[in-house]
């Protein structure tokens, strides 16, 4: 348990350092849950929990000045719970959503208080023209977030796991059933959020094209993505051609 908690600490730290490694999506639920599965000796379950949680937090990413629930802690704890208790993947949400919301409160507190203070120090060092010390404020901002957050997650695992099983067993079945149903619909929120961001009159029909391909022909997402790429290529190449033809027509008219 102690060894596993230490591994969980490093997994969570890796997740929180996502933006340190080029915002490369390292902290996404699918990656975190798989790593937890690796440490707890059940990768397959880890991957499956990851898929469920990835869907739940699909529409969630930092955009502008709003910060989403902290899916790193949610997926680590959620995956650890499912793997240690052996329940089905969908029930990870019962734990993951509240955990993510609570940890985000703490993270928000850090981003509102501690890091602006560091930024104020950085202003001071910039006034002195000391580039090295300005850089160090950036390093401190990394340490001050990653270590406490990863500690919270690993302590939550170490102390929480034995207790949480009994707590969740005490919850009546209709509540967990309700949450399981909600888990099936929650991806719709994320998909709708992103669709709203991308959609305009010129491309709206492609949403339904993709839907119909999957609904009637049972095509996989890889298949749909490939068809979409070919369609884009066709559209782009023909677009140039029609423009050229029109130009030729114009020449004939005059």
């Amino acid at each position: 348990m102690l060894v596993q908690s230490i591994f969980i600490f490093f997994i969570a730290a890796l997740g929180y350092l996502n933006s340190f490694f080029g915002s490369s999506n390292l902290g996404r639920p699918l990656i975190m849950s798989t790593l937890v599965g690796l440490v707890l000796g059940d990768i397959r379950t880890g991957v499956m929990v990851g898929a469920t949680l990835e869907l739940v937090w699909l529409g969630v990413f930092p955009i502008g000045a709003s910060n989403p629930p902290d899916y790193v802690s949610g997926s680590v704890i959620g995956a650890a719970y499912v793997i240690t208790t052996g329940t089905d993947a969908a029930s990870a949400c019962v734990l993951a959503i509240p955990v993510a919301t609570l940890v985000q409160l703490f993270w928000d507190f850090l981003m509102m208080s501690a890091i602006p203070l560091l930024a104020a120090r950085a202003d001071h060092y910039a006034e002195e023209g000391n580039a090295k010390k300005v850089d160090w404020m950036h390093y401190w901002a990394i340490i001050i977030q990653t270590v406490p957050l990863a500690l919270i997650v690993s302590c939550g695992y170490y102390f929480g796991m034995p207790v949480i099983e009994q707590v969740i067993q005490a919850i009546p079945a209709w509540i967990t059933d309700g949450i399981a149903y909600a888990t099936g619909i929650i991806p719709a929120i994320g998909l709708a959020m992103i669709a709203r961001m991308l959609i305009n009159k010129k491309v709206a029909c492609f949403l339904f094209f993709g839907f119909l391909l999957a609904a009637y022909f049972n095509l996989s997402i890889i298949g749909i993505a490939c068809i979409a790429c070919v369609m884009v290529a066709i559209l782009m190449l023909n677009q140039n051609q029609t423009v050229r033809e029109e130009a030729v027509d114009d020449d004939n008219e005059f």
Partner: protein, 282 residues
Amino acid sequence: MTTNSNVHTEQNGGMKKLSQKDLRRIYWRSCQLDVSWNYERQQNLGYSYAISAAVDKLHKDNPEKKKNALKRGLEFMAITPQLSTLLLGINAAMEEENANNPNFDENAINSVKTSLMGPLAGIGDSLIPGTLRIIAAGIAISLAMSGNIMAPILYLLIFNIPAFLIRYFCLKYGYKFGTSFLTTVEKTGIMDKVSYGASIVGLMVIGGMIASQIWLDLPIMVGSGDFATPLTDYFDQIMPCLIPLGCFGGMYYLLGRKVKTTTILIGLIIVCVAVCGIAALF
């Protein structure tokens, strides 16, 4: 020939110029842009960290300019991390001019930064976390559902290979063309084409995910005895995946009415639990 090149090197010796190595440092440092995000000036620490690689070298012997450059780096910054290198490249090119030209108007750097930040973040957010991540996630999730352990690896590869290439080319061309970059891009209209193509692929994947990743089994039977059929079957006969499409439509409508996502999420869980609770009473 030899005299020519001698003159050239002499001029270069007097001019302060960033080397490939410095640009590489900006590239790697730009990877940490979001890690020191805060509510006051957002990515200011990360941005100053990335640009200070150039500032340190260019203004080594001019403390006044160095001080101003460091302060400029710490101004408010909000941009998609993968496109930040475009701004960093332009900024580095301007800073270079600033170091060589005593009459350079330093305010120009700030005004370029603030005027580019908004539009770039707009394009970037729909292109990178919107489209690219959705394509990667859609493919990975459909594999991961069946427990395929290649899924997370594929997720990272599909997202990161284009993302890091974009980061590289943004820095290269941002530095090369400097402030003239945007006028060149606007003339060719390539940005419109890229976002048009990307949104087609993104929307088709979203459409596919509506059909395959949203599920709601209505546990209601219609008819009695041997003729009992689940209600879901009737909907599926009208059109397969009609219920998921309805769920999506509902969420799309709610988001259009400016309902907050967290409100929708919590509301949805409460409604589902309440319905199950009422069903459990009977």
